[in-house]
Structure formats: structure tokens, C-alpha cells
């Protein structure tokens, strides 16, 4: 099978074409990967074909702060199909100000090897 990808690893956004075959036992044979301009492109395609993953950035509620929320992000990508479950988990959070940039708010989100961290400092009001 042939499939086209737009690599999202960096702003170059290479158009990559992969020729592959999915065996009945679920295993994958990639015959060729073309169009990428660096090694990360090939890794991206392999990942997309087996287990597509994304990082998520959002914000979580803060009480008593100079602003009502604090921006957050995952430190590593999680399976794409879990994005909305992660959003649910973020929505349940309420922090108390002050919040320091870099603070781990949730570790191993949904059991994955990714933490949710604060991406800014929110001082007390």
C-alpha cells in the first residue's frame, strides 16, 4: 500500500510517501519511505503507521492567581486516540496559586510515559 504523509516533526513539513504492507498477524513491513529530508521523517512515518502519537497543549484552572488559568503541556506524545481523555483529565485539575513554570502537575498521564507540566508561572493575585 502507498500512503502520503506530511511530517509534523519540524516546520519543514516534508511530504513523505511510504510503501508498506500490513500482514495478517498485524505486523508491518515498510518497503520504502521517500521524500523526507532527515532521519526523523522516517521515524515519524513508522510511528504514524504503527501507533500515531501527539503532544497536547492546553490550560488548567488556577485559584487565587493573577489569572484564572495556567498553560500546560505534555512532555511527551501520547496515542492520538487518547487526546480527548487527556483533555478530560486536564479539565478536572484546579491548582492553587502560585504555580511555578515547569511544575509537574500530573505525572504519567493516563499511565503513559508523559507528564503534564505548567508552561508559565502564575503569581498570587
Amino acid at each position: 500500500m502507498q500512503r502520503e504523509f506530511t511530517c509534523i516533526v519540524c516546520p519543514n513539513g516534508c511530504r513523505i510517501t511510504a510503501d508498506y504492507e500490513k500482514k495478517e498477524d498485524g505486523s508491518l513491513i515498510i518497503r520504502s519511505v521517500e521524500g523526507q529530508t532527515c532521519r526523523r521523517g522516517e521515524e515519524y512515518v513508522r510511528q504514524e503507521l504503527t501507533d500515531p502519537r501527539r503532544t497536547i497543549a492546553s490550560s488548567a484552572a488556577v485559584k487565587g492567581g493573577e489569572m484564572p488559568l495556567c498553560s500546560v503541556r505534555l512532555t511527551a506524545p501520547v496515542p492520538k486516540k487518547e487526546i480527548f481523555r487527556v483533555m478530560e483529565a486536564i479539565r478536572e485539575i484546579t491548582m492553587e496559586a502560585p504555580v511555578e513554570e515547569g511544575t509537574v502537575i500530573l505525572s504519567n498521564v493516563l499511565g503513559y510515559d508523559a507528564d503534564l507540566i505548567a508552561t508559565r508561572t502564575v503569581h498570587k493575585a
Partner: protein
């Protein structure tokens, strides 16, 4: 009245990077003036990740990228004043600002313009129809959601395929809104392919090219928009109208450098970039007034903004020390298929960084920089896109002080 060697107008990534580099080169009498309550510029509201890949080798969110530079400014105790808007800059570099403490006047030896850009609005587009609530630019939507925690609507249509609009399409979807589609009047998307992939395709949001909004309905709140297909001259095709019920219309139709102050100082602007005409030192045609970042030309990547501001700082430092910079008489012009090229003037005696944007998407092209008969640089490129700025280092060995330089792209 106060005095300073350098006044920096705008404390976004460009202003901050310029300040830090100036300081490190020994120019310490600096003052940063910022309109908002905190430093950081537009990055404060860009909470998505993808910043800093070039500079730091990691994917940071906007606030984190800004915070690294704010940290460097704080560490050096470079003075800055926030909640203060510069309202006038004269040719003689007298800077007037309005802030909480009233008017502030600073006589500077050099002024650095880093005011960023603003978004094109509905007025600039002349969309017909009523004027209900629920129509706003992507950046305003971003500020509401990411800074003020206010959700803006449930059924959303996005006009324009700029990166900010696509990023907001994803953000709104994650926050539970339904984004009906993104409509783009041009036959090509204006944002980066990776954003089409990760912000639209990932969430099944369709992108319609060669479509635009031809009517807006609603009395208090937006009720619907009418979308039409457009022809090759971007004119709506009668009979293709389709009405979409929605409560929010987001405009992501481009950014314009914010240059009222630049014009007020008497500096000339480039018709294409809408920013100042600059030489290889990023100096405008008024000696001692410099510009970098989005106020000079719209950037897609903040990493390049920081780099540009640092290069500017070297020129500004030399200006403060010497009182003038070498003359730049060789002009750089955009040739075939090139939208703009920057700087517009060079000396022909120093290396410089050439920034350009192609006019249209092209594949398997040859990019050529020449001066008269002399070819300075030639490069084959697999693809070029207007959404992606191209930067090339030009070496002085290949340059002469006579004859203008032309940049062109051919198939």
C-alpha cells in the same frame, strides 16, 4: 527628560533578544518600553508547542520560549517599563511614551523598533452583511481562550488558512466546540503544511480552498455565514452560495506589521513587506533607527525573529559606539517569483543574511542570487511555499560594491 543609549520599543521576542545581545556587547544603557502589563509579546498567548526547535532543539510552548529570554533580561537587570505605550518617535530619536505615570520622554542615541504586527480585520476585507457579535480575529479568540478563560462559541467557521487560524481550529475543538470548516479564498493554503496536518486533518476539519464568506447574518449574535466559491480572479461565483449556521466566525487572514511609529519618524516602508526599508544592519533609512521581528516582515518562526534581533543588535552597538554605520548603496530586489527580499540595501563588503518569500508554491526550482552577470549563489530546491520564509547566508567574497543584487526563483 531621560537619556539612554538605546530605547527598545516593544518587549516581545525581538525586543528581548536585541536587549540581551546589546548588553552582552557592552551597551548597557538600554531601556525597553512595553505596552502590555508583562514582557513576552504575542508568545504569551501562544500556548501550543513547536517553538524553539531551531534555537534550543526542543519543542517549547510560546510562554516557555518567552520566559527563557525574559530570564536573560532579568539576570542582566536590563531596565524595562511595562504598561507604557510609545506614542511618538522623532527623526532625532526622541521617544515619547504614555504610561501610568503620565508622559515619559527619552532621548536615545539609537532606537530599536520591535512592535510586532497586528491582524487584518473584517474592515480590511470588506465582508458584507450585518455586524453581530461573534466575529473576531484568530488572535483575539486566542487571547480570550488562553489568557482570560472565556469560551467564544460552539459552532465555528474559520475564514483564512493562516497558521493562527488553524491552531485555533484545534484549540477550539479540544475545548469542545465544533469547527465546521476552514475556508480560504486563495487556491493554496497560507499556513504551514504541518499545521494543516496536525490542526485540521487530525480532527477531521475540512479545508476548502478558493472559497470565501459573501454574507453574514445575525442581529445580536452571529447566526449564519454564506460561503461562495471564487473564480481565478477571486470573484465569488454566483450560484455556489451555501449557508452555514454558526455562532462564531474567526478571521485568520493575515498579519500586518505595526508601523505607524516608523512612518511618524519619517522612515520609508517597503510596499511588499509593509515594514521599514532596511540595510544589512537592519537600520532604516533614518540613521540610528533599527527594526527587526514581525514589525519588519512577518515571520512564521520565532526562532528566526530572535536571530534577526541579535544580528540587529550588532549593528546598533556599532552605531552607538561610532555614531554611524558604513554606507549601504547596493540595492537588493525581488525578481521573478519572489514576493519580497530583505535587507533592501547592502554594502557589498560584509556577509549578510538574505530573507525572502516565494510568491507562489513551486516544485523543483532553482533559486538564484545574482549581481549583474555575476552569480552569487544558486540553489536547487525541491519545493518552495509562500508560507515558508527562506533564509540564505550571502558571503562577502562573492559581492561587489557596484550593481544591484537580484533574487529570483525559476523552474
Amino acid at each position: 527628560m531621560k537619556y539612554a543609549d538605546v530605547v527598545i520599543v516593544g518587549g516581545g521576542p525581538a525586543g528581548l533578544a536585541a536587549a540581551v545581545r546589546l548588553y552582552d556587547m557592552g551597551i548597557r544603557d538600554i531601556l525597553i518600553l512595553e505596552r502590555e502589563h508583562s514582557l513576552g509579546g504575542i508568545l504569551r498567548q501562544c500556548i501550543h508547542d513547536g517553538f524553539g526547535l531551531t534555537r534550543f532543539g526542543v519543542s517549547l510552548s510560546g510562554p516557555e520560549y518567552a520566559s527563557r529570554f525574559i530570564g536573560e533580561v532579568e539576570k542582566r537587570q536590563i531596565p524595562y517599563i511595562t504598561d507604557t505605550t510609545v506614542i511618538e518617535i522623532t527623526r532625532d530619536k526622541l521617544v515619547t511614551a504614555a504610561g501610568e505615570a503620565g508622559l515619559l520622554q527619552v532621548q536615545a542615541k539609537a532606537v530599536i523598533l520591535t512592535m510586532g504586527c497586528r491582524e487584518r480585520t473584517r474592515g480590511a476585507l470588506a465582508i458584507p452583511g450585518t455586524r453581530p457579535a461573534g466575529v473576531m480575529t484568530a488572535g483575539v479568540a486566542q487571547a480570550y481562550i488562553n489568557l482570560q478563560n472565556r469560551m467564544i462559541g460552539k459552532e465555528v467557521v474559520i475564514l483564512g488558512s493562516g497558521d493562527i487560524g488553524m491552531i485555533m481550529a484545534r484549540r477550539l475543538t479540544l475545548e469542545g466546540a465544533h469547527v465546521i470548516a476552514v475556508f480560504e479564498v486563495m487556491p493554496v493554503a497560507s499556513g504551514l503544511p504541518r499545521n494543516i496536518e496536525q490542526c485540521l486533518n487530525d480532527y477531521g476539519i475540512p479545508l476548502y480552498l478558493s472559497h470565501t464568506v459573501t454574507d453574514i447574518k445575525g442581529t445580536d449574535r452571529l447566526e449564519s455565514v454564506t460561503i461562495s466559491q471564487v473564480d481565478d480572479h477571486m470573484q465569488p461565483i454566483p450560484g455556489t452560495e451555501k449557508e452555514y449556521a454558526c455562532d462564531t466566525l474567526i478571521l485568520s487572514v493575515g498579519l500586518i506589521p505595526e508601523n505607524e511609529l516608523t512612518l511618524g519618524a519619517g522612515a520609508s516602508l517597503d510596499d511588499h513587506t509593509k515594514g521599514a526599508l532596511v540595510d544589512e544592519f537592519y537600520q532604516s533609512d533614518i540613521p540610528g533607527i533599527f527594526a527587526a521581528g514581525n514589525v519588519l516582515h512577518v515571520h512564521d518562526l520565532v526562532d528566526f525573529v530572535s536571530m534577526e534581533a541579535e544580528a540587529l543588535a550588532e549593528g546598533a552597538a556599532a552605531y552607538v559606539r561610532e555614531g554611524s554605520l558604513p554606507e549601504c548603496l547596493v540595492s537588493v530586489t525581488a525578481g521573478d517569483n519572489v514576493g519580497h527580499a530583505l535587507p533592501q540595501k547592502v554594502s557589498g563588503e560584509r556577509d549578510f543574511l538574505l530573507s525572502l518569500r516565494p510568491r507562489r508554491p513551486m516544485q523543483d526550482v532553482r533559486l538564484k542570487v545574482s549581481q549583474g552577470e555575476n552569480i552569487i549563489l544558486e540553489r536547487k530546491m525541491k519545493k518552495v511555499l509562500p508560507a515558508e520564509m527562506i533564509q540564505l547566508k550571502i558571503r562577502k567574497e562573492k559581492l561587489s560594491r557596484e550593481g544591484s543584487i537580484t533574487v529570483s526563483i525559476s523552474q
